[in-house]
């Protein structure tokens, strides 16, 4: 890691990728240990996420350049860092830890997170705190150098595969709700963590309920100051909305590609009505793709703001309309469903599933990561500067709020 690295040009960066590949040939890797060593070396070379600082897996370069680095490394046969399994870790936990962590926390968590050695999940929502996340009731009580955590979390994607979680818990019930929260990094292997499947409308259980009973978290794994939990959670959620709504895709690289393929393969199913609706959605999907590209260019130097919320509104609507249209195009086949058996899919297991599954699963797009109704409030208040909603619980100590 040299001090001169910052300020590399794109060409210099790509040269550095070539140099790295010359020293670390992916073709020579045979064992899992060797592959992991290669991933650690890539992290140490600053080629993991180039927009992160030097020493933290990056080189302080524009976020958009990562695409070219990835393309080169993938072409050379680079090992996979389980990015599809660790979307919450990479998209949400990592930027939050980078933004608020101590140097010790950054040293401890970022590299194994990026390499996929440690998978992360998110312990935010609760049965009584959905859209109103700041009402979270999971309690964390200080006991010496540790916190003792009790409560119930819900809608936790991938908790059954996770090693660590980002956790929001109440550390002070005597102050108004936004001020009494703190943010923790929670070990999912703690004996007090009980993960139970939550079956959903698709028939399977992608999510979980997580019961926390006397879970002990060292104070060294608290992120940010005590009472700063809301601020940090908001930061995480802005990243989530970008992660969900702003993914980089080629044309027809998202759901529209699947539906267009069905259309091309089945001339016998075409009707003028379906054609018009497909073309409108094709345009909407392409405009969303371009908007995502523009948003990424805007963000190349900065942090995600509420603009991601607007993107996610489009993403949810288009996915839901498209998946509904797909069933109509499929006609008789649209009346069938693959399998209602209760199963435990991996995260992001949308691939290879049938249209009925997609139609049902994508209903979640306007609920998860902020409902579309809440996101419209976010856009209206934080981007457009319109007045906030009336809040009867804002200045009341959390313990006195009726529930």
């Amino acid at each position: 890691m040299t001090a001169t690295a910052t300020g590399l040009t794109l060409d210099q960066l790509l040269q550095r990728v070539d140099d790295f590949l010359a020293e670390h040939d992916p073709a020579s890797l045979t064992t899992d240990e060797e592959r992991m060593a290669w991933l650690r070396a890539r992290y140490d070379a600053g080629l993991a996420w180039v927009h992160f600082p030097e020493g933290r897996g990056g080189l302080g370069l524009p976020r958009s350049w990562q695409v070219e680095v990835d393309a080169k490394l993938t072409a050379a046969g680079a090992p996979d860092n389980r990015s599809r399994t660790n979307t919450i870790g990479l998209g949400m936990a990592a930027p939050t830890i980078l933004g608020f962590g101590t140097p010790e926390q950054l040293d401890r968590f970022l590299r194994p997170l990026w390499t996929g050695e440690e998978i992360w999940c998110q312990l935010f929502s609760e049965p009584g705190a959905g859209s109103d996340l700041a009402a979270a009731a999971t309690r964390a009580v200080k006991d010496g150098d540790e916190w003792v955590v009790n409560g119930q979390k819900v809608w936790t994607s991938g908790a059954h595969n996770a090693d660590w979680a980002i956790l929001v818990a109440r550390t002070d019930p005597d102050v108004p709700k936004h001020r009494g929260l703190s943010y923790f990094l929670c070990n999912m292997h703690d004996p007090g963590v009980d993960v139970r499947p939550l079956r959903q409308i698709t028939g399977e259980a992608e999510f979980n309920e997580v019961f926390l009973t006397d879970v002990r978290i060292p104070d060294a794994h608290r992120l940010g100051e005590v009472g700063e939990g809301w601020k940090i959670a908001t930061f995480t959620l802005n990243n989530e909305r970008v992660a969900i709504g702003g993914g980089s895709n080629p044309r027809e690289g998202a759901l529209i590609g699947t539906v267009a393929k069905t259309w091309r393969e089945h001339p016998e199913r075409r009707t003028p009505d379906l054609h018009q609706r497909l073309l409108k959605l094709w345009v909407d999907a392409e405009v969303m793709r371009i908007s995502g590209q523009r948003l990424r260019q805007k963000l190349a130097a900065g942090q995600p703001g509420p603009e991601g919320s607007a993107m996610k509104l489009s993403f949810a609507r288009i996915n839901q309309e498209l998946s509904g249209l797909e069933l109509e195009i499929l006609g008789e086949d649209g009346l069938r469903y693959g399998d209602w058996t209760m199963r435990r899919p991996g995260i992001g297991a949308m691939m290879g599933r049938d249209a009925g599954f997609r139609y049902l699963r994508l209903k979640g797009n306007s609920i998860e990561g902020g409902t579309s109704e809440i996101l419209r409030n976010v856009v209206a208040e934080r981007i457009l500067g319109l007045p906030g909603e009336h809040r009867v619980d804002k200045d009341v100590p959390w313990k006195d709020i009726p529930r």
Binding site: I244, G247, N249, P250, R251, E252, G253, A254, L255, G257, T258, A260, K261, W263, R264, R270, P272, H275, Q276, L278, L279, K280, W282, V283, D284, E286, V287, I290, S291, Q293, R294, Q297, K298, E307, A310, L313, S314, G348, M350, M351, G352, R353, R358, R361, L362, G364, N365, E368, L375, R376, N377, V379, A380, E381, I383, L384, G385, L386, P387, E389
Partner: protein, 376 residues
């Protein structure tokens, strides 16, 4: 949450810069300053009562003082050698001010036709005159014609072409004569042509019916290249119109927003009602999406990459988007939005006419169906 990726279609996309360069920002500032000072909304309104003096003052200032007519003309032909990216910024500002100037019809559509492959020496000479603002041109085609109509626009002497945009402001018309072997574009001085003004839905882009005379004037694009020239002109025109539509929509959004922050009923500002907040949030999202689409089209035309799909997508999306924004502006202003006094109707009329102009959204979607292999 990702969904199934598939092989992209054969249509390749371009990795284009969708933001504004410093130069483009500077250009916007000067156009905005000039229009802000001189494009008074009461004088815009006067066009509906027969007073078209504002456009006659503004156009020489924009074309001459700011040199905007020269943007798309190459330097070696006396122009500024800029690109569609800069022209799009101008279109945004024209839309935002609802300015009654023939920038789109002369400095974009006619200019692009004259830049076609195979254009003659006479075309080059005319470009030089257009660039310095000495002359103003218009293509003789109905304003409804879009890129998909290009091969059906050839005319014969005696034909009447209805609803031509920019003809009233022009002193030279590019007439696409149908001849043996194709369509030949001739530069015909307007005094040789019957140009009859019509009462237009949008009087900030007044239309005229043009009666085609016997062939006269110099050939600027020969018969073999005419259809391609017209298609290129209408494609660039449609791409730039999307930026104008974005400008129109942005005025509607910001004006409605400002009004709802100030207007009080039931003891509260209207913008605090969630039903209205959500409508504005959706409108913001739609307008921002349109901004990205319009910017992509401009960058695509400038780079010569992914031009047809990029243009059709922007045109299909922004046409409806601007109309929606203008209709929302009228509704969200309540009674005042229905008055002659308020400017909202200038934008509604402009947006509606723009939606129909240079190919309507359905025509652009039909083009997409062919371009990306989604047959009906």
């Amino acid at each position: 949450m990702s969904t199934t990726p598939t092989t992209p279609t054969s249509t390749s996309t371009a990795d284009l810069d969708l933001l504004y360069t410093e130069l483009e920002d500077d250009l916007r500032s000067s156009v905005s300053a000039l229009l802000g000072a001189r494009c008074d909304e009461h004088r815009v309104k006067a066009a509906y009562d027969g007073d078209d003096s504002l456009g006659k003052e503004l156009w020489p200032a924009l074309a001459g003082e700011l040199g905007l007519a020269a943007l798309l003309v190459p330097e070696e032909q006396g122009g500024a050698g800029a690109s569609a990216r800069e022209a799009a910024v101008v279109c945004e500002e024209i839309g935002r001010h609802c300015a009654p100037v023939p920038f789109l019809t002369s400095a974009v559509v006619a200019t692009t036709a004259l830049l076609a492959d195979g254009a003659t020496e006479a075309a080059s000479a005319l470009l030089g005159e257009l660039a310095v603002g000495e002359r103003t041109a218009a293509l003789v085609a109905s304003f409804v014609a879009g890129p998909g109509d290009a091969d059906g626009l050839g005319v014969r002497p005696g034909d009447q072409v209805r609803s031509v945009a920019g003809a009233l402001e022009a002193d030279v018309l590019l007439v696409p004569y149908a001849v043996d072997g194709g369509v030949e574009l001739r530069a015909v001085p307007t005094d040789a042509v019957t140009v009859e003004p019509v009462v237009s839905l949008d009087m900030t882009r007044p239309l005229a019916d043009v009666t085609v005379p016997e062939p006269t004037g110099e050939v600027v694009v020969p018969a073999t290249a005419g259809v391609a020239a017209v298609r290129a002109a209408l494609t660039t025109g449609a791409a730039m119109l999307a930026s104008e539509q974005y400008g129109v929509a942005q005025w509607c959004l910001t004006t409605s927003l400002a009004y709802l922050k100030e207007r009080r009923q039931f003891g509260r500002v209207l913008g605090g009602f969630q039903a209205l907040k959500h409508r504005l949030a959706d409108l913001y999202n739609e307008v921002e999406s349109g901004a990205a689409a319009a910017r992509y089209a401009a960058a695509a035309v400038a780079a010569g990459e992914d031009v047809e799909v990029g243009t059709a997508v922007a045109a299909a999306y922004c046409g409806d988007m601007a109309v929606h924004a203008a209709e929302e502006a009228v509704q969200l202003h309540g009674g005042i939005g229905m008055t002659w006094e308020h400017a909202a109707h200038h934008y509604l009329k402009r947006a509606k006419a723009d939606q129909i102009g240079l190919g309507n959204p359905g025509a652009h979607r039909a083009a997409i169906a062919e371009l990306v292999d989604l047959p009906g």
